[in-house]
């Protein structure tokens, strides 16, 4: 599904990702953990195609295609979805209109006609249930005045609507209380399927209690320094990140 090889990325002239490598197979759920400032969000933004992130070298192959050659919107239409850590508030654009534009952009990309209004509403209703979103939210301006929990639920709702192949969750658990976390995690779990891969970026282990990963990676200093099974997350929770830092220092 996704193959990242020797990826080097800088922002504002400062290199953040350093020879980053990652392989995600179809249907797998990978978690990336690590201390703050280690490049986790840079990885997410780079994969989504945010302009400020400058790729110095390396390659990213997504479903056999060169991802780095695609514009941000093309990546999304091809099936990459980034659930933002801080979703942007956009006054004047309703959730409904936003989703209609996004769905139809994707359909057009695959040579399909715009979705019929009735089918669209039906699809919306179905997906709203998934993350327990009320109907009223659909006619509200996108993220405007939404609580932290509502914003994240809305991200997962969008993910459900667009049915991506690769879901990148950037600190989706940040700013969520335990109830919201449960709802969001349940929504994500319902979207797990053999055709869909996940990259879950998180600082804390608690999200992984709900979304059980196949592989856990520890990121430090712009690259993955340790990988393991789900038990690695528990070990990190228990011992913190310092032992990883020591290990890296010892190897150097």
């Amino acid at each position: 599904m996704l193959s990242i090889k020797n990826l080097n990325v800088a922002i504002n002239g400062q290199q953040i990702l350093k020879d980053f490598n990652l392989e995600i197979k179809t249907g797998e759920v990978h978690a990336i953990m690590g201390p703050n400032g280690t490049g986790k969000s840079t990885l997410a933004s780079t994969l989504a195609g945010k302009e400020a992130y400058e790729v110095l070298s390396g390659e990213v192959i997504f479903k056999g295609k060169d991802l780095l050659e695609m514009s941000p919107d093309e990546r999304a239409r091809e099936g990459v979805f980034l659930a933002f850590q801080y979703p942007v508030e956009i006054p004047g654009v309703t959730v409904t209109n936003f989703m209609k534009a996004a769905i139809n952009a994707k359909r057009r990309h695959f040579g399909l006609d715009p979705m019929d209004a009735k089918d669209f509403l039906k699809l919306m209703r179905q997906k709203m249930e998934l993350v327990e979103i009320k109907k009223e939210m659909m006619s509200r301006s996108l993220n405007e005045g939404f609580s932290g929990g509502e914003k994240k639920r809305n991200e997962i709702f969008q993910m459900a609507m667009l049915e991506p192949s690769l879901c990148i969750l950037d600190e989706t658990d940040s700013g969520l209380d335990i109830d919201a976390l449960r709802i969001v995690a349940n929504g994500i779990n319902k979207l797990r399927s053999p055709e869909r891969s996940f990259l879950v970026i998180t600082h804390y282990q608690r999200l992984l209690n709900y979304i059980v990963p196949d592989v856990v990676h520890v990121m430090f200093g712009g690259k993955i320094v340790k990988s393991g099974g789900k038990e690695l997350a528990l070990e990190l929770e228990e011992k913190g990140y310092d032992w990883i830092k020591d290990e890296v220092a010892a190897e150097a």
């Binding site: 919107d73 999304a76 933002f84 936003f98 534009a101 969008q158 667009l162």
Partner: protein
Amino acid sequence: MSFADKINSEFELAEKNASGEHVLAHIRKDAFTSFQKLGIPGNRHEEWRYTNIKTQLPETLSIAGHTTWNVSKDGFNGFADIKATKLVFLNGVLNTGLSTIIEETGVTVGSLKEHLGHNTALTEKYFGKLVNKYEDHFSMLNTAFVNDGAFVHVKKGITATHPIFIINLYNSPENFTQSRNLIIVEESSKLDVIVDFQNQGSSSYYNHVSECFVGNNADLNVTKLQTSTQHTTAVHTLEAEVGRYAKFTCTTISLEAKLIRNTTNVRLCGENSEAHLNGLYYGTGTSLIDNHILVDHLVPNCQSNQLYKGILDEEATGVFNGKIFVKQDAQKTNAFQSSKAILLSDEASINSKPQLEIFADDVKCSHGAAIGQLSQDEVFYLRARGIHESDAKSILTYAFASQIINTITTDALKVYLDNNLKERLHLNF
């Protein structure tokens, strides 16, 4: 012959031909004397610095000239979806055949010429009474020359059920057509007025003046539409005087223009009155859209809001001048102004000038002006969901504009403008 000489001789001729309208004759003569002193302003005049109207009015234009042409019922946008009394004017002259009137008790509508011609008292009381308050070249010219226009009168205590829709069609490439509205809403009455301007010819030049009298405790809501005005060079002046506990709302939507100047002056003359001036302008090509607005607080305890938004693309130019005057007596004034403009191309420009002149000491006045581009973060968020960059920008532009459209209270009109904007931006949600 210079343009000024030409205008002089045209006035003399018009004066000679006019008969039996003594009150009007005096008003015209006075206005023309004022105009002669002022002339057509050049860009050295502070109020016309960024809109060089003088160079945009060909000197061959006739002021008194009138062109007629045939228009069929479906030869213009009649806004079939909006239920209203519709008055249709061809180059400023009422066409009864194209107009449809819904009779309402206490509401009188019709031709200005007819109503003023029959009623000296009415003419003396209202005609030209609001346009001599500020130095205004074009209002004076209009008063001197205008022949007809819309007359709307709502009697005391009447709430009009349907809006009055004034549809102005212009086809005047050779004339600088003078057209006019006189709107009177008496004490405790309520009325919505929509004024639309449509260009029918290869180009149109006109000078339109509206005088609005808002009686005590009355409520007048005027929406001006400039949505079919691509080849239009026009000067609009709207003057309103608002009485005690009364409310005046004016929304100006300019989506097309060659050159359009909208001057909107509101005088809050009665205590506890309020004014709301909203505007949306969207310029493309080489169009120039200029909004000069003024709320003049003359008495205490009044409030006013100015909310303008502009979108400028390609090589379009915008001008915004927002004045708030608070006179010495106008204590406890509450006045607010917000002007925002987005520039969608490197060649587009906006000249924005807030102008607050406050002579009272116990007032709340604030203003905010912002000029910028679409937010990159917002564009990226939309693109991250698969929406093409150009569509993302259109959606955000639509969102920016919709704040003004959403203030419109006539639903069918809101829908019309919403669709117009979507079509313009190639959006189909």
